[in-house]
Every structure is written in C-alpha cells, then in structure tokens.
C-alpha cells in the first residue's frame, strides 16, 4: 500500500516496521512529529522524555535490556544528549539503538544551523541520510540492522525539508523482533577507564568494518551519465542537484559516515570535474579533499542558510540570477506573535513597563522579545535564563549597576534544564527573580504533554510534578503564584519580588489558550467604545493580534473573531474605553 508521508511520519513507520520496542524524545522542531506518530503504534512503548539527555540515556537503557530503541531530537537537542552519545559510541548497542537528529538549515525554528554530520565523525558512529520519505522509512529499518550487526548506535540525520516534506511511501508489515533480554556485562556497559581503553580499540576496529559496509552499501551508488561533470551529494541536496543538472553523473551518498572511500575514488577516476553539493558545512568536501581528490564545493555552494534548487542552479552556473518582478507594492512582513489571550503577555508587558533586565529562554515566549513588548535581553539555550542571570547579576553588582534581573523560563523548559540552574542559584546566593511561565503545556512545538500536565504521550494519567513543590523543596523562601490575567497582581508581585534582596520565584500560571480544554471555554469578548477612546495606544502596546490601531481615525479596534476575552486591554485602558460585549 502506498501513502503520502512526511519524513517524520516515515521514520516512525520505519521504526514500527523494523520491530522497534521502545521510542522516546523531547519535542523540538523539526523532529517533534516522529514521536507523535510513534505513539499511534500501540505495539511500541513511546514516551516524552524530560530532555534529550534523559531521552538518549533511557533509550540506551532499553538497548541494554535487548530492546530495539529509537530516540529523536532536533539538532541542538543532540548537544544536550552529547555526553551519553559519546559513551554510547563506546558501549555499542545490544538491542538496536537509532538516534534521530533533525537538523534545521535555514533556522526556520532554531537558534543555530549546526551540521550534525560532525557528531557522527566526532563520536565515531555511523550516520545515514535519507533524501525523501521512502528512504527515511527504509533507512530507519536499515539503521536498526546495522546497529545490531556492528554493535553501534546509528545516527539518522534528517533536515527540515526531509522531516516536513511529504512524498510517496510504500508501506510494509511489521517485522517481529524478539527482545534479547538483559545480561550483566560490565566490560561493555560500565565504561570506567580500564574498560573504555579496550572499548576504544574495538571502536576503531568497528570503524574499519563500517567503511567496508559503506563501500558495498546499496544506497551509496553511482549514476553515470555525462561524464564531463560529476556531482557528489547526500540528503535533500541530492534532489536539488538532480533538478539543477539532470544530465550530470552522480554519486549519491546515503551512509554519510564513514564515507565510501573506494566508491569515491572510482567515481573520481571516471568523471572530469567534481562538484560537491551539500548544505551548511563542507563535510563531504573536507573529507574527500583529504583523500587527495580535487573537488569544488563551498567555493560555489553557500555555507550559510538552506539550499534550494534555485540556489544550486545559480551556484553551479546553469541559471542566471533571477531579476525580481517589477511590482511596486510590497507585502508588509508578518512576524510571528504571541496569540490573542496568550497567558505570557501580561508578564512581558510588566517587564517592559518596569524596565527590568530579562534573561530569556526557549519557547513561544521568546516572542516576548519582539516589539511592542521588547521584554527580553538574552536567549541562549534551554535553561540559560536562570544561569545567565547568576553571572550577569554578579557583573552588575561589581559595576555598581542597580538594575534588577528577572529570569524568564517556561514550564517545559524549567523541567528540561531549569531545575539544575535554580539549584545553582540557591547554592551561589543569587538574589535574582525567576519567573516560571507555566502555561501547563509544551506549546511552541505544538502542545505536547510534559511532567506538569499529568498525562503521558500515550494519553495515560500519570503523577504530576508540581512546580511549587519542586521550588520550595529546593529551599526557595519567596515563592509566589500569580494568575497572569490579573495584570495588577502580576505588576505588584514582579515589582515586590524583584526589589527583595533575596532569591524569589514567581510562578505565572494560566493554561495556553490553544489547548482543547481552554478552547472549549467561553469568555466574554471586549470592544472599544470609540466615543471614549483617546488614541493613547496603551492597549496596542500589549502586542495582541486582535487589537489594531486606525491611524486616520486615531482609534483602537478589537477584532471580534480574534478576541478571546482575556481582558488585559480592558485592564490597561485608563479611559474606560474598552468594555465587555
């Protein structure tokens, strides 16, 4: 049977067909849908982990027990999981262990465009790179087989265009793979130095065998055509290059690490010139040049940003640069924004109004940095809001700077990497204020459950991890909980707590307006009384997409369909010009 699947759906399907027993992940664009789709296969135990490190360690535990295990994450998630990644490279895999890294060239929804092919080389782990959904499914199955045959974890690298593009996939039945069972094996699973020294030798021997595999691997193949031009490429770049130079000869690499050296040498002998078409880093280029083969890559193909057929065509000189159409009107930008009724809005409004320094974090709420809220100073990585505040607080103090710092972090990010930072704050005597924006869901990636929701990925009830108890249990004395729809309370609490010469934690709580329970609730909507509106634009400063300002009439307007009745505009209006409908 054929079906149109996204790359992420295809990976889930491939894992299912390949007899996977266990799957876990922390959500992160563009990888999130892999586990969401995994959870549809009830034969497989699938779960959300608290972060990528716990996810990889959990999957490795399942592999210790002889299960086939899959773990998925976005590219920067692999940084979080890199500690166990390198250990897993030594330990290997009793039950097949597949680690999916979904990279984001072009940074559609990420803070950098790191190229995770570099991790395969650094951790000495084989890597497969599909170029469409059919391959995504096939390669996932193959990855489990390679993992068990060569006793190694296998990295499967997707990119946004693979993860989120759909193409036709041929579906197969599930392979029934028995669980091998657990046996104590400390020379392999307990990597103290004496064991690891021996394991490192095995890793290097394994690498030689994997190289042989790469040369014989049927998805590493040559397509001879016009031999004047040869193109070496992998992943989505293969599709772009095929479109750019359909008549050229191709070496398509699917097992990107270790590279098929003999195949590359053979190809180089048979074509006149070689172009390397790859996104981001010159990974293939560097390796192939080090083999003494003359190739052209990043000299022509951009290193920054996502590729597409147009860029590849122009870079290879087969298409003239495009002249934009002669049209005078331009579309104003449509930047993403916090939603109408977003429970985070009031906190950012208050931070902006009180001119506090806000160390920020990663989630929907990073949008609080944008105008008109302008309420965030930094954003580094998951959990950095809290730890950045510790260092910055010290720097301000030494410079006699009296400004106050608030660290702003979401609930899911707090569970992911905020708790250890908060312990650091307590231990090192920080006097900053931490605001935990608790919208009771992992919102940015599309509303996944987390330890605070009391529900698992499979929809089962589970024990809630209560943020107040965590914070109080760690020993924070000043803990306040506020309803973010009460602007006065939010304002007063943030002012009071940030003035204190002690560490405070404010839990700013209200569920996201987009979760089904909230969508079902009916709220009274608000409207502007134009006779009273003075055009002061206080309400516009909330950045609510439902509020617009008519420049000619000098009046604010509330879009009836968009308004969800959060009442924040009613609360900021000093002229009683906003009222319930």
């Amino acid at each position: 049977m054929k079906e149109l699947l996204s790359g992420n759906e295809a990976v889930a399907r491939g894992a299912f067909e390949g007899g996977v027993h266990f799957a876990c992940a922390y959500p992160g664009t563009p990888s999130t849908e892999i586990l969401e789709n995994m959870s549809k296969y009830i034969e497989v135990k699938s779960q959300w982990s608290v972060n990528e490190k716990t996810a990889l360690e959990t999957a490795l535990g399942a592999s210790f027990g002889g299960m086939r295990a899959l773990v998925a994450m976005k590219h920067v998630g692999l940084n979080v999981a890199s500690d166990p990644l390198f250990s897993a490279g030594y330990i290997g895999a009793k039950g097949g262990l597949v680690i999916v890294s979904a990279d984001d060239p072009g940074m559609h929804s990420s803070q950098n465009e790191q190229d995770n092919r570099n991790y395969a080389r650094a951790a000495k782990i084989p890597m497969l790179e599909p170029s469409d959904s059919q391959e995504a499914k096939e390669f996932t199955k193959i990855a489990f087989a390679i993992s068990e045959e060569f006793d190694t974890p296998v990295l499967l690298r997707l990119t946004t265009r693979i993860s989120h593009s759909k193409s036709i996939v041929e579906l197969k039945e599930r392979e029934m793979v028995p669980i091998k069972g657990y046996e104590k094996d400390i020379k392999k699973n307990l990597i103290l130095p004496a064991h690891a020294r021996l394991l490192h030798k095995k890793v290097e021997e394994r690498f030689k065998k994997l190289k042989e595999l790469s040369n014989d691997f049927k998805y590493n193949y040559i397509e001879y055509n016009d031999k004047k031009v040869g193109i070496i490429t992998s992943g989505i770049s293969y599709q772009y290059a095929k479109e750019a130079m359909p008549d050229a000869s191709f070496l398509k690499i699917s097992l990107t690490w270790p590279l098929p050296d003999l195949l590359i040498k053979e190809f180089a002998k048979n074509v006149d010139v070689i172009y390397i078409v790859e996104e981001n880093d010159p990974f293939l280029e560097t390796e192939i040049k080090s083999m003494g083969i003359d190739v052209t890559g990043k000299e022509l193909i951009p290193i920054v940003g996502e590729l597409n057929p147009y860029i590849v065509k122009v870079s290879l000189g087969v298409l003239k640069p495009y002249t934009p159409k002669n049209i005078e009107v331009k579309a104003p930008p449509r930047p993403p924004a916090l939603c109408p009724g977003c429970p985070h809005t009031s906190v950012f409004y208050v931070i902006n109004k009180n001119r506090l320094i806000a160390t920020g974090d990663i989630g929907c709420y990073t949008l609080g940095a944008l105008p008109p809220l302008n309420a965030m100073d930094t954003c580094v990585d998951m959990g950095a809001s809290i730890t950045n505040a510790i260092g910055l607080e010290y720097a301000l103090k030494k410079n006699d700077d009296k400004r106050k710092i608030v660290a702003v972090i979401g609930d899911s990010t707090f569970y992911h990497s905020g708790i250890t930072g908060l312990i650091d704050m307590i231990y090192n005597g920080s006097k900053a204020t931490v605001i935990i924006l608790d919208n009771s869901i992992t919102a940015m990636t599309g509303h996944q459950d987390n330890p605070g929701t009391g529900k698992t990925l499979m929809g089962e009830e589970t024990q809630k991890v209560d943020i107040e108890n965590v914070v109080k249990g760690l020993g924070v004395k000043n803990v306040k909980v506020v309803d973010t729809y009460d602007l006065e309370e939010v304002d007063r609490t943030i002012k009071e707590e940030s003035k204190k010469d002690e560490l405070s934690v404010i839990i700013a709580r209200r569920p996201c307006m987009l979760i089904p329970e909230m969508k079902k609730k009916k709220f009274d909507k608000y409207q502007v009384d134009e006779t009273k509106c003075t055009g002061c634009q206080m309400c516009v400063k909330l950045g609510c997409p439902a509020i617009s300002f008519d420049k000619t009439e000098k009046k604010a307007k509330i879009d009836y369909d968009l308004c969800v009745g959060c009442s924040l505009c009613f609360q900021v209006c000093k002229f009683n010009a906003i009222n319930k409908i």
């Binding site: 772009y240 049209i327 331009k330």
Partner: protein, 192 residues
C-alpha cells in the same frame, strides 16, 4: 506534462496544510509522483504559511524556484504579493479576497497595500479573484473556506480528474464533516 508546480500561501490557521495535503493525495490517487513541502514551527503563531506542491511522472525537489510555479493559490491578498516572484510567465494566480492584518499593520506602524490585486493583475494575466470566505459563511461554517478554494483550484488542474478528488475527499475527511466539506468543494468547483 513534465511537472505541475503549485504554491499555496496564506496565514497560519487558514487550513493551508489540509488543503495542500488533499491536493497531494488527489495527485497520488491519479497515479502521479508528488512531493510537497511546508515549514511548521514559528509560522504557526500568526506568521505566513507557504506550501509547495510538485506533481509529475518523477519529482525530485519538493521546493519550487522563482519563475516556476504554474499556480499560486493565495488564501489572503498580500500573501499573493509575497510569493509573486515564484509565478511563471503564463502561470495562474488564484486569490481569495480576504484581508488579515499583519501585526506591524495592526499596530499602525505600516500600511496594508491598497491596490495589490490591480498590481498583480498587471503582471499575471490569468488572475482569478474569489470570495471563498463569503461562500463558506453561506454554507454555515467559515472553516470550510479552504475547501471552497481547493474546489476552485481543482477545476484548473486538468491532469487530476474529478473522480480522484472525490475519492480523496471521501478517504481523508472524517465522516462527521464530510458533507459540508463536499458541498464546499462543489461550490468552489462551480464558482466562476
């Protein structure tokens, strides 16, 4: 036919993903290779959404380049403008006559272009303007606006026969909402 390249553009929440999924499935049911690509993530929060769909005997790239699109279907007026560089010289532009203010316009710092449709018509001869929002409201559910537009588009994609559309709608839409969506498709199909 080599390939047919279609761009569907609009704003998050307008039902673009479903419409592009149904189009891709109809093409597959008609026996073609098909690839489609869009980016989710930040764009869900009120940003613009673009879906590229390529249909043909054999499709390589899911992405469409400048000057290549046979069709641009825009669910919102200025999103047609944003994507105009992708339309090929004799391409067809279908614009839903609906206006959703971007935040910089709503907050008064920028203006919404007034004559975008006239300007587009100067460049793209085959431009159709439809009022799908109105038609969806008449059917009693604004949410089926995307299917009205899809119905209109389907008439112009001659390589996918009507029976494949009907099969796709039946297979892919939940039974509970099938009737109103089928009516919406029919409405779009018969719109002038």
């Amino acid at each position: 036919m080599d390939t047919i390249k279609i761009i569907i553009a609009g704003v998050g929440g307008q039902g673009i993903i479903l419409a592009s999924d149904l189009l891709s499935d109809a093409a597959m049911n008609a026996g073609y290779d098909v690839k489609k690509s869009e980016v989710h993530g930040m764009s869900q929060r009120g940003g613009d959404v673009v879906s590229h769909i390529v249909i043909g005997k054999k499709v390589y790239s899911p992405l469409i380049s400048f000057n290549e699109a046979d069709f641009i279907v825009s669910f919102e007026k200025i999103e047609a403008l944003r994507n105009i560089d992708y339309i090929k010289d004799d391409g067809t532009m279908i614009i839903n006559n609906m206006q959703i203010l971007p935040l910089p316009v709503a907050s008064g710092s920028m203006d919404y272009p007034k004559n975008s449709i006239e300007e587009i018509k100067k460049i793209v001869k085959k431009t159709f303007i439809i009022n799908a929002e109105e038609e969806a409201k008449k059917l009693g559910n604004i949410k089926v606006m995307n299917i009205v537009i899809l119905g209109f588009l389907s008439k112009h994609i001659k390589v996918i026969e009507r029976k494949y559309w009907d099969k796709t709608l039946k297979e892919k839409l939940p039974q509970k909402i099938f009737d109103i969506n089928y009516k919406a498709f029919e409405k779009g199909y018969t719109l002038e």
